[in-house]
């Protein structure tokens, strides 16, 4: 391993601009003559729009235009779509309601944009917005999905009776039922997987500009996938043909899924920019983000696990109600189905699984993928059941897991996933040792002396990443393929531009992708520039999410590098007057095997462009190769997280006093960056488990609408983590990468709650386990114990 190659903890190239304040995020971009738009959003959860009077607003100082849904509708542009068709059990397609960029007829959630005011300054736009008169007829609303699906609930969309989007299922109903009938023991639990607000620190932003001379549009947008944004806005919204629409994702300050989707705001900015022929700029305020960024999770689940006399799992049955909010967001349909149920086997060999998912509309912000997207929900179900069962059997949680682990690969689960390679025992064993599991008893007794309850919890998780094999997801209803592209452009003086369709928003691609290219070509990492985030520069790509940039993005780079090497060897053969098959490329030199005749990379590059010394009729001048890589399977990162908590029984505060993570991500390009991904994922999972509570009241008001009420994890909510890895290479891609971006968020909630339920001695507690919630659970437990005596 070289100091800057695969496996090296290379410090990041992009950090220079970030630590000096020279990053360029979308709000940092300013265009001559720009106007500012402020969105007017429904203050009601469900209301008819009777009358919108913009006359007074339009007359305010500095105002350029005020637009309503009615005006936008006149443009005949399309609405926003969900791009993944999920079918109900009866074969009927999901009930996707129309989603106009500005509400027409009625508003369906607090925050639904109904109008926009544009002015010379943002202050003027906000002043004008206050003068817009909107006559709302408030309708009854519903925020609870069970209530929304029940008889008599207010109907949100005509196309969806009982507000039901789909009733989906996976697995063998009858075989699973039989397994439960024959079971020796059944563990049953009900859970809430609490709704989360993603809260990337950079609020969403868009800046649209129209060039009337070329009739073309440019959009700067905080997006994780500029090409997908362009495709959807071009083909579905009909804004402009793709070749007349450029989308630029500059530096993006975190995404976690929330910046994958195509939202109303960028569509309105584009439409407005062309209408008024001036750039239109929008940046969300944080409380605006709370009511407009897609939320995550929001499942209510009943699940049961069947065991035989030998404590082996024989069946799993799951019923989930998934709240998708007021409209179907871009990937929303797939999250509680194909990204969820297919992981319900966990790390275990479970012969029969049956899962039903009912997706429902409510008058809340739309719900879509958020770090882990379906896999944290699956892990939560499986790992809480297994841990609860271990307690019911009074055997060690590790022991019950070991008994049931998949031990031989490849393993075909009963929920479609084909696990390729893994060693679950190895990560469990390493985690136990690193955590000093043996010492827990002693630590528990010492906590007790101080009047505190100590608990320990496991999460042995698995995820499906490296999204995704195109034909497979196509069969499942996806409207797009999930391959990735790379182009290696060698310059005459030997430096390289690496163009990728992935887009970093914290993952360090400018460094890790450069490590890969530099090592392969034997050049310095400073000679490699990673180009991304601009549809004018990179031809097409699917973006970054689902832990795909390593497994899929880097595989495309390898393919392109293979082509570069092949062509370079052809040229080298001519330069060195040898047979092509005798050329060896190593450490940046092309050598005739068995001789000392060689040419260095830099010389080769120049020769390719000078084109004097090889037959250009047979070999084209230049050295530039592109590749598209379509994965043949998902990848399956997996691991073991152990959480130790200490609970103060007076206040209910659960402190995390220890965390050990041992993950198998296959090949690791930069361990420093990979560990950072684990740290960040764990923090989000801890946030879900202990702090983050998204509360809607009965009037559909988002009560937790800012950081005053929504508790974000801070540095003193977390300890330092012990992070280590085991490695079983992924067999399905050239580098053996599984991916690491979501693991922490997937494992953490189950680990925390298993620790808390261990400490409390009760399973009856839901996330977030705030001090009030823990304290109440403690009182209930004490009461029922007293009653039992």
């Amino acid at each position: 391993m070289s100091a800057t190659g695969i496996g090296a903890a290379v410090r990041r190239k992009e950090d220079l601009r970030f630590v000096t304040g020279k990053g360029q995020y979308t709000d940092d971009v300013n265009r001559p003559g720009q106007t500012h738009i402020y969105f007017i959003r429904s203050p009601h959860a469900h209301a008819k729009l009777k009358r919108i009077d913009t006359k007074a607003a339009a007359a305010m100082p500095g105002v350029v235009a005020v637009a309503t849904g009615a005006e936008f509708a006149e443009s005949k542009l399309g609405g926003l779509i969900c791009g993944w068709t999920v079918l109900s059990k009866d074969g009927s397609p999901m009930k996707m309601a129309p989603h106009p960029a500005l509400a027409v007829g009625k508003a369906c959630h607090v925050g639904d944009p109904v109008a926009g005011g544009g002015a010379e300054t943002l202050a003027q736009a906000k002043d004008a917005a206050e003068k817009v008169v909107i006559d709302y007829e408030v309708l009854p609303s519903v925020v609870d999905p069970a209530k929304a699906a029940a008889k008599g609930a207010p109907l949100i969309h005509e196309v969806a009776p009982n507000n039901t989007i789909y009733n989906w299922h996976l697995g063998d109903h009858d075989a699973t039922a039989a397994a439960f009938k024959a079971a020796k023991h059944v563990t049953k639990l009900e859970f809430v997987n609490n709704r989360l607000v993603p809260n990337a620190m950079e609020p969403r932003a868009a800046l649209a500009e129209y060039d009337s001379g070329n009739e073309s549009l440019t959009l700067w947008n905080a997006t994780q996938n500029p090409h997908v944004a362009r495709l959807v806005i071009s083909a579905f919204v009909g804004m402009a043909p793709e070749n007349k629409l450029r989308v630029i994702a500059p530096d993006v300050g975190g995404g976690f899924g929330s910046k994958i989707f195509i939202y109303p705001e960028e569509v309105v900015c584009l439409w407005a920019a062309r209408k008024i022929n001036r750039p239109v700029k929008w940046t969300a305020e944080r409380s605006e983000s709370f009511i407009s960024d897609a939320h995550g999770r929001d499942h209510v689940t009943r699940a049961e696990m069947a065991f035989d006399a030998d404590n082996k799992i024989t069946g799993l049955r799951v019923h989930t109600v998934a709240n998708l909010g007021a409209y179907m967001s871009t990937f929303s349909s797939a999250v509680p189905t194909f990204l969820y149920a297919t992981l319900l086997s966990g790390q275990y060999a479970i012969p029969h699984i049956y899962c039903e998912v009912d997706a429902v509309y409510t008058n809340t912000v739309p719900v879509d993928a958020y770090r882990g997207a379906g896999r944290p929900e699956a892990t939560y179900v499986v790992e809480r059941l297994v841990e609860a069962a271990a307690r019911e059997f009074t055997i060690e949680p590790a022991e019950l897991r070991r008994k049931n682990f998949v031990k031989s690969f490849p393993y075909q689960t009963s929920v479609a996933s084909l696990y390729d390679a893994g060693d679950y025992n190895a990560s469990l064993a390493k985690a136990l040792q690193l955590h000093d599991y043996k010492g827990f008893g002693k630590r528990k007794r010492e906590s007790e002396k101080l009047g505190k309850l100590r608990g320990i919890g496991f999460a042995t998780y698995i995820e499906a990443c490296g999204v995704a094999p195109s034909a497979l997801v196509g069969q499942l209803g996806a409207g797009v393929g999930l391959w990735e592209s790379a182009e290696v452009r060698v310059n005459p003086t030997g430096s390289v531009e690496l163009l990728t369709g992935c887009h970093q928003h914290g993952q360090g691609h400018e460094t890790t992708f450069a490590q890969l290219v530099a090592e392969r070509l034997g050049i310095s990492i400073d000679q490699v520039t990673v180009v991304h985030g601009d549809t004018d520069k990179v031809q097409f790509g699917m973006g970054t999410y689902g832990s795909r940039s390593g497994a899929v993005g880097m595989s495309a780079i390898v393919k392109a590098l293979d082509k570069v090497e092949a062509k370079a060897k052809k040229i080298a053969a001519h330069l060195l007057e040898a047979a092509e098959g005798d050329i060896v490329f190593k450490d940046g030199r092309f050598t005739v095997a068995g001789t000392d005749k060689s040419v260095a990379w830099g010389e080769l590059a120049l020769a390719a462009y000078v084109a004097h010394k090889f037959p250009t009729g047979e070999i084209e001048p230049g050295l530039k190769e592109a590749a598209f890589y379509d994965p043949t399977n998902f990848t399956f990162p997996a691991g073991c997280h152990i959480c130790e908590v200490e609970i103060d029984t007076d206040t209910g505060e659960a402190s995390i006093v220890g965390w050990t993570a041992v993950d198998d991500f296959g090949t690791v390009i930069n361990p420093m960056i990979v560990e950072g991904q684990v740290h960040g994922g764990v923090a989000q999972g801890v946030g879900q488990a202990l702090l983050e509570h998204t509360v809607y009241n009965d009037n559909g008001q988002l009560v937790t609408g800012s950081y005053m009420d929504y508790a974000m994890p801070r540095a003193d909510n977390l300890p330092s983590l012990k992070v280590d890895m085991t490695v079983t290479k992924c067999p399905s891609n050239p580098l053996g990468i599984k991916g690491c971006g979501e693991a922490g968020a997937i494992a953490a909630p189950a680990a925390v709650m298993n620790a808390i339920t261990d400490a409390l001695g009760t399973e009856k507690i839901d996330m977030p386990a705030t001090p009030a919630v823990v304290w109440s659970a403690l009182q209930k437990r004490n009461k029922s114990r007293a009653a039992a005596e």
Partner: protein, 164 residues
């Protein structure tokens, strides 16, 4: 529109501003110093932290007019030309940032923390003192390491390489 004048990163600055203008808006929009960021609207996230007369201040919660005559230091003023400030260097060395959005505010808070509490900072001190800075990417693990190392380096000490 009232006029204001102040020093920003050592340079004299004059501007005419709407009285509602926040200090962060003056910096970002009038002066085009976009390194200071806005991440929330309730004064909690810390992405906007700058130094005013030597103390850390959330520039989103201060009117520009209140900074009349003040000496303001932003992230852009920390480095000396190509020479990074030890705290900036420490963040890079210890991977104390991922998306970079909270980073300028984190670094400015960290420098202020060292100014107030010295060069040998315990882990729990750093964690508690970061209550006014939110990061969504890093889980704080490496930020804490970076600040401890940067603090030592600011005292002329050798900052230890991250053990992990």
């Amino acid at each position: 529109m009232p006029s204001i004048s102040m020093k920003v990163n050592g340079k004299d600055v004059k501007a005419d501003v709407d009285p509602r203008t926040l200090l962060v808006q003056l910096l970002r929009e009038n002066l085009r110093l976009t390194g200071t960021h806005v991440g929330c609207d309730t004064s909690q996230c810390g992405a906007c932290v700058v130094h005013v007369n030597g103390k850390a201040v959330k520039s989103c919660t201060m009117l520009a007019l209140s900074a009349q005559g003040a000496d303001v230091l932003t992230i852009e003023g920390l480095a000396h030309g190509a020479q990074l400030h030890p705290m900036q260097e420490a963040f890079r060395e210890h991977h104390g940032l991922q998306c970079g959005f909270c980073t300028p505010g984190m670094i400015m808070t960290a420098v202020d923390l060292v100014n107030r509490k010295g060069n040998n900072l315990a882990e729990h001190t750093i964690r508690e003192e970061l209550e006014g800075n939110i990061c969504r990417c890093t889980g704080y693990h490496n930020i804490v390491k970076a600040i401890a190392a940067g603090a030592k380096a600011m005292g002329g000490g050798v900052s230890r390489q991250a053990a992990e």
